[in-house]
């Protein structure tokens, strides 16, 4: 990846070998900082996409019904809808945004991660389609032992 652009965010003056210009990596931490401060799922979605109008179809989301540890909840999610970004949110932690995938031409949009959930709640996955629409799936789960929240 373009390490010069990467480190350039942090004002690094280190000269690195030039890399091809066709690299692109979108850092949504920098592009949309307010998303990561939003407390509710709706606020985070609004902050990221400008709207909370979503279609409930086309997004796969698989979670355990009960997670024994809130520190590492396994979440499997994905879509076949041609997408620009895929974002994961939850309502169990102080802020709601967990991660945003920027979908490049090679990415097959099938993901698995383990996340922290401070307590029982709902996980929301939003897919930003190339068609300009938002697609969503939500699922609730119980967290047996109070997890390591934010």
């Amino acid at each position: 990846m373009n390490r010069r652009k990467f480190l350039g965010f942090f004002g690094s003056a280190v000269a690195l070998s030039a890399l091809p210009v066709n690299l692109s990596a979108d850092d949504y931490r920098k592009l949309k900082p307010k998303v990561w401060e939003a407390k509710t799922v709706d606020d985070a979605i609004k902050s990221l996409y400008g709207t909370t109008e979503m279609i409930e179809k086309g997004v796969k989301l698989k979670l355990p019904k009960v997670a024994s540890s809130g520190g590492a909840v396994p979440v499997k999610f994905g879509t076949k809808i041609p997408a620009k970004t895929v974002a994961l949110f939850q309502d169990s932690n102080p802020e709601s945004a967990v991660m945003v995938y920027t979908v490049g031409k090679y990415d097959l949009t099938q993901y698995f991660v383990k996340i922290k959930m401070g307590k029982s709640g709902t996980i929301t996955v939003v897919v930003e389609g190339l068609d300009g629409k938002l697609y969503v799936a939500k699922q609730s789960l119980e967290v047996a032992a109070g997890g390591c929240e934010g």
Partner: protein, 102 residues
């Protein structure tokens, strides 16, 4: 960082585990009394032959030593090509790991 990539039927499947404490703001506050001691991975990028195959902006809410699985189209790549994954955290530290696609 642990990184494994396998090409099968035109798809490269990747499993990675980053080594990072992923300390949240609340955890930092409890531990040192200072929220700013929080530190967690904020961005992860993976490339093969300088082409971006994964790009994730992340938060404090990923598990400690976070695991990620993802897949990308393998038609333009072959076994032996190197997948290079880099993460950067809130404090600006980066780590890169390379693995050959099997």
């Amino acid at each position: 960082m642990k990184l494994k990539a396998k090409l099968k039927n035109g798809v490269v499947k990747v499993k990675m585990m980053a080594k990072h404490d992923m300390v949240t703001y609340n955890q930092a506050k409890k531990k040192t009394g200072n929220r700013d001691d929080a530190n967690f991975i904020t961005h992860i990028t993976g490339t093969v032959n300088d082409k971006v195959v994964i790009d994730i902006s992340t938060s404090q809410f990923l598990s400690k030593n976070p695991i990620f699985k993802f897949q990308f189209k393998g038609d333009e790549f072959k076994s032996g090509d190197k997948l290079s994954v880099t993460w950067i955290d809130k404090k600006g530290k980066t780590e890169t790991k390379k693995a050959k696609i099997k």
